[in-house]
Symmetry: D2
């Protein structure tokens, strides 16, 4: 219904179905005068694009973005930016047999119960294809952030696939872009390739955990009480398909800590406060501390598997479901660029809000 | 700044500081004709009220709610409901020494960096006292839900304190209201009392995990894509003070599962679809399945501890901080009724949204 | 900036510039299951389309709408509806000489002062071409209203062109569609054609007043205090290009009335209350009475005229401006279908809001 | 329902009924660090306060504002400001006989039809008493505007009472505060006093037109397309009780003008563009030009009159209504400070929005 928009001042409305003619994002609230062209957005879309290796869906979508408005002569105009991506490879016959079946773990059944409709061509609006539009919008957000906060860097990567965690001792940022899993651990990349091959031959799939970090965000960003930075990030990540949990900093493990252990003690550094640890994930009271902002989220295993699962048909009769089609054995992989895009959008939105209301009565809090 | 409101149609704006004259909630969007009086709201506030046993802060606040508008003759009028709670026991002298200190783990430092102000009387708006207003608003939501969905029950309880988990085999719903920890396990209640006593004598504090369950929510509730039921619940819980992680259903553990294990298989029951398991936590594609909606969140240990922690003063000079005052050794305890209230508000909001747009063109999806 | 959306539950975001590749509307919040196809929307666009007679701009735009999402198999799906209209006849060379000139009465100067940009191709986002997107969105709203309120009729028409008023004694609803001015008075249509011919030969233009009436709206629609039905209609009409005044019922003339004359006395009719007059324009306290809802608004004369007007260039030097291009001598004419579309969107939005919150605690107020 | 809030970044939610214990405004989005105390707000409330002369209602409300949150030590903190005004003189017995009567011209009937409720104590939420909360919120807006735009002045005054217009040749700004009508024409003040005395003895009432002007607003303020400055002002004024029409600049008279006459020609002045006239009312394309922003609106005559008017009872039976109580013979008088407050809120909101998004990529458009 009318909740396909996120953001307060940098507002993104995504539209389009998995098997319709096109999908896209209407981006409202982009400041004027920022350098932007389709190529800058395409870079990020290419990162998410399916079919780039054997570990993601073999659906062949070029995901070419067209800018229909809001940019003139290589600059944003301050008016809505319409980003359109044509669907090309909608092999809806793959889905021919699902029109009356409710696939376990899919939104088929709840969409039907809510809207009274089944799109026999596939997941429709609940498909992860919708996230292409988010990545495109994230490209706009990054262009603006590049202008406002040149030192800000947003980086997502996988830290767990199924029960297999990365080894933080082997953490190598440069490794992330070298493997199909966006994993900062060369050994894990190698191991996980085998895990996925096994999953595929087992007609099974596997979950994952992704971490997204923003480096270089200044202190003071965040809008208490109900648009706290962590609140907004939690909502942004939870809105991504298949996500079941979101953590900031110490996350769920914070429950097991004591106050003495959890305190991020503070020293005065050359350029401001410095923290001895980052249990808080860079956010206190919903406002950034200036440390790395650290978000993690868990993605459930792909529900589309070719192992039969018991379910029912629309008429209530029992039905054993095997979901064919071209599906990712680990949807977590393609969630990485999506999560980066969502973080970019949230941070820009928060920074714009900050600009609106601070400094009205003079400079804000300076320490030291 | 202007983000002290949550909800789309049932909109709650909380206001007030920990040490100001009063705090409260402005509730807009409450349907007319619903039975409501101050006593119905007071019931829930009393549950959250501090100082009821030795395990929560000894600040003595009666937390008496006054309804200033929106209710006439025991019924809601459809106009804004103003709920006011006077602060009574603001012993701000307890905080006399914190005006220039940044307490590790507190929002002192980030509020100062954002707003340029320090409230020397205590946590101001970032204090957990703000949650009293949420509980009051939740009382209104529950009254309306009672009318719309008489079979809906919302129940929160602690499942972990520090490293100590409940034993699910001993789960006893009736136990929850009998102990100061809202824990459904009598043995845990006994053990945890000792843990907390130790924490206090150690000048330390401890984290916790809370689970909140909604039973009896019909299928079809939730507003994709960016106001999904799980998205809204994640935001609601993450907005509560000290929360660092939120999970739906299998939560972070979903990452370790395979697709075969994660599938909640479906049978046709007498009254509709029945699921053999609930890894999804009652939500698929952001829409309720009709199963229990299961949310969990982790609360970090209280940052206010009397063990000294290293920090800095406003001028940047180093300072060892001991936070006196009357603080909960485990803030997770009082988060239980707050989380219930937040869930009530989110569910009502989603149900109202559902009423707006469904059934326009006839009945929605019926199965069987 | 981020204010290209209107509506609360039926949300319309228009996008696109006068001389860009396309423009359109992203419609979020349309209920599912409503019959809709491009033809139903095209009907309304054709009514607004320029170049249909000698009295409107000779720019030849087919204004063909393409539905890119949200409709499947002739029915709305409840997901965002993307409506795209390609620009075809952008003769931007017409505007070659305006890049550095500020045309009196145009938004050139204020857009430049706000955004720091000039689009040398024409009015960009401030052009009345944006209203094509509104008309398309209005077509969606009408389809839904047809389902919800089959007896509702929305009709706009001109009542004044320059100093020339219609003769209410000659009011003939059937005449409206027969003349290029949407005027319900055959004699006026004939006279005004001559007025416009004179205007054109005089290198001048003329203002107009439009009236829009909704018949068949039930009593009880409207959302006090700040989304009153009249408030929303005033905002909707004032947002149309060149509008300088909006009236409800007696409008500005209400100032001259006495309380005795202004009272719309009430009788009990067979189907509910009946009013002896309609000074209120069908709205009391922001809520519909069940009478005709009557809105009027004034459109200023087209600012693009070929009579030279004094102005300045971007560098501040004086410049006499003659605005060439293909402009309507009376923009009020094409405002008629736009105003109808805006009213359709506002009424649907209000009706959806009404559905959300009434009847929760039983039937609402019945009279008699 | 949930529409008791206005503003985008400076958000005001008013609450409270005419005969409840209190009313007020929750102001969210006020920047921190601005000097503010109750006295600064009281100044504006005193201007609106009823019973100050024989021409306004004799209800004796001290309208004393209490600041419950958001201000500490004489400065705003950036958190919500709760402004409460206790009702003191609720003589609801005056209304004893109206519980089952629908008063012509009042919202009694439509509120009943919408909400199913009658508040037998008076107009409830539809009473003009609600506007006291707006005036209080406007006081906050003025404090912030004083910091941001020290040269901005907002001034409202009556220009018409019943059929009697002021003589613009006698316009004297200093006269406004000297008479009970806020009229800038000493002779009109004298004449109108007699008109009102006659109205009262005739058991009648009279309408009015108010003009509100903002001087000193810089060019470039306004948020196209659907939060244009004129759109927002139109909505703000139309939301005030009894308003039936709103005009910007030339207003409804713009319809009768030609393009040649309507063009506000531009010269280059010492400090920027200067306009030879102000038909546009200081707004082009929804954005301020730097000229005076000029808004006018018509208020209908008070519907509460002691001349009997025909109506019906709740059961549908006929009833002749005489509205006793303590009512203003010309509600337009007290609308003056309300309109000023609304303009202050709208302008601040627009200025804050402007701060968010401009200057991201360098300075915006400079002329000359």
């Amino acid at each position: 219904m009318s909740f396909n928009t996120f953001g307060h001042l940098f507002r993104v409305t995504t539209w389009g179905e998995s098997h319709g003619p096109a999908l896209g994002a209407t981006v409202d609230g982009c400041p004027p005068g920022v350098a932007l062209d389709a190529g800058m957005i395409q870079t990020w879309l290419d990162k998410r694009k399916p079919g780039q290796n054997r570990h993601t869906t073999q659906r062949r979508e070029p995901d070419e973005v067209e800018i229909l408005s809001g940019v003139y002569d290589g600059q944003t105009t301050g008016t809505p930016i319409q980003l359109m991506i044509r669907n090309v490879d909608q092999r809806s016959k793959d889905y021919g047999n699902i029109a009356d079946t409710f696939r376990p773990g899919h939104a088929d059944i709840t969409y039907y119960q809510k809207y009274g409709l089944r799109d026999p061509r596939g997941g429709g609006r609940s498909s992860a294809r919708e996230t292409a539009a988010r990545v495109a919008a994230g490209g706009v957000a990054r262009a603006v952030l590049g202008q406002l906060l040149p030192d800000l860097h947003i980086l997502g990567y996988m830290v767990q696939m199924g029960p297999h965690h990365i080894d933080r001792a082997r953490f190598d940022m440069d490794e992330i872009a070298r493997n199909p899993f966006w994993v900062p651990d060369a050994q894990a990349a190698e191991d996980w390739a085998k895990v996925l091959d096994t999953m595929r031959s087992d007609r099974n799939s596997v979950g994952a955990t992704i971490e997204v970090v923003a480096k270089g965000l200044p202190a003071g960003i965040g809008a208490p009480i109900y648009a706290k930075l962590d609140t907004e990030l939690a909502a942004a990540m939870m809105s991504i398909n298949a996500v079941k949990g979101v953590e900031i900093g110490a996350g769920m493990d914070a429950a097991a800590l004591t106050g003495v252990d959890n305190a991020d003690e503070i020293d005065m550094g050359a350029e401001g406060p410095e923290y001895r640890s980052n249990k808080a994930g860079g956010i206190l009271g919903g406002i950034s501390t200036g440390q790395d902002v650290v978000v993690r989220f868990a993605v459930k295993p792909t529900s589309s598997i070719t192992t039969p699962r018991e379910s029912i048909l629309r008429d209530g009769s029992p039905n054993s479901v095997v979901t064919k089609g071209r599906h990712d054995p680990c949807v977590g992989i393609r969630a990485v660029p999506v999560a980066e895009a969502m973080m970019a959008c949230v941070l820009l939105d928060q920074v714009l809000m900050q600009r609106a209301q601070t400094g009205v009565a003079g400079p804000v809090g300076v320490i030291g």
